[in-house]
Symmetry: C2
Subunit: 244 residues, 2 copies
DNA sequence: ACACCACTGCGTACCTGCTACGCTATTTAG
DNA sequence: CTAAATAGCGTAGCAGGTACGCAGTGGTGT
């Protein structure tokens, strides 16, 4: 009967509340919220330690372990709780508008928690919020008449791309904040180090000056994101035309 | 003059060798190789500790710090050294064959080091091996006549997608090895937990049985990878047609 | 030949972080 | 009222990163 994996049961808050024993002074929600707050404030997932979370809640470190089996489990809970539900799709939009809307939504949601991309992936989406996002992507494809399996493939690929892009963007942004010069000198550094005979294509890019003049970092990373997204969506369009 | 970032200088082995002092019994190559061996053997990046690396080399922990500034720096060196150079492109192939060849090459190279996707991203590619891969992707696009900036965008997007897919695949594979049942019951778990009224698109996918019958894991993850890759490449084709 | 000094390897020690274990206090079922 | 179940927590063990300073080593310049 109750064969749900423990993490999943916990994310859905499905464990039965005990009848005996002292009233808890601590709730799972409090713990997860405190952990997320710490990560947000420090902009650093590594700042989340069991001790720090407990301290913020005015409890001892070990008290947390009555509610959470391990720190890994806490991270899994964070990965679901940090994303609020997606806004519902505007009515009657075509799939492309829908997926663009969806991708922007993910972008905005994750941007609020720059540590999100550093979370270990523990399995396929299983928590309520993550599944809601998954459902939203599938919903955008509802009108296409594609077979369900293809919709899943498209949605998964999109999730992968978006998460990959976020990870890249966030890590680069962190590096940029630490040490802007490394980025500003990127073109110059490559020029110093590369042998044009061995890497001719890269040398041509350097000659064209693509890596000089790094402007606004965030803006440029947005442009890259959109560019890749449009490529992927063009691919989806081609696929729909081929199959439909 | 010598304004190269220290990590980059190290990856290219560009620091001048000291004239005085005892002969080193330890080389940077040894350290990086040992670290990679440990990660490979344990299939786990976390198994790489400074103490463990030193032990394998018959030295003390602190001796490593004469060659490497910190563990982070060691990780950066690993991220370049773990990927051997790409095989040269077959001559006279169109861009699509070239990029597919390239993506397969990345796949094979990274598969040898399943921990690779867990490495923190420290910045844009800067080591000799990483840049060689970057160059190879750009080289595959050489015949398209696209502006250099577009080539960079396409190559970056592709790298992002491939790395994201690897990360997903490797983490899921690890989870699957730990606990196969969670994956086999994925469909059943979702069915238990989802309200079809709130997530109709997902419910339809479940009804269609897409998540039942999980077959060979590795094979399926290969299929997903190819599917997404083809979508992206279709998008590139559309872009080339539009611009060229 | 000798003194100097940059450099390597390393022992020690400190700090942070996760968590197993067991005690005590609290609440409710019977 | 007693027993069982449960919450919080103090202690302690273990692992891992790394700052610091000492000892030995071997070119360099006098």
């Amino acid at each position: 009967m109750d064969e749900l994996p423990p993490d999943v049961a916990l994310m859905w808050r499905l464990r039965e509340t005990p009848r005996r024993g002292p009233k808890p002074t601590l709730s799972l929600d409090d713990i997860v919220r405190a952990a997320i707050e710490i990560a947000d404030e420090e902009n650093d997932l590594a700042a989340v330690s069991m001790a720090r979370v407990a301290e913020r809640l005015g409890n001892s470190t070990m008290a947390l372990y009555r509610h959470v089996k391990s720190k890994d489990e806490l991270l899994i809970l964070m990965s679901d709780a940090a994303l609020e539900r997606p806004e519902p799709l505007p009515a009657d939009v075509d799939w492309r508008t829908g997926l663009t809307f969806w991708a922007d939504g993910v972008m905005t949601a994750v941007r609020k928690h720059s540590w999100y991309a550093k979370l270990p992936i523990s399995g396929p989406p299983a928590g309520p919020n993550n599944l809601a996002w998954f459902d939203a992507a599938l919903g955008a494809l509802a009108g296409t008449g594609l077979p369900e399996e293809a919709k899943v493939g498209i949605a998964m690929g999109l999730i992968t791309y978006v998460q990959g892009e976020m990870r890249m963007a966030m890590d680069l942004a962190a590096g940029f904040a630490d040490n802007p010069d490394v980025f500003r000198q990127y073109g110059a550094t490559l020029a110093r180090v590369i042998d044009p005979k061995q890497m001719p294509a890269l040398a041509r890019v350097l000659d064209a000056g693509v890596f000089d003049e790094v402007g606004d970092f965030e803006q440029e990373s947005d442009q890259d994101f959109d560019f890749g997204l449009q490529l992927y969506l063009d691919g989806v369009a081609a696929f729909i035309e081929r199959v439909g």
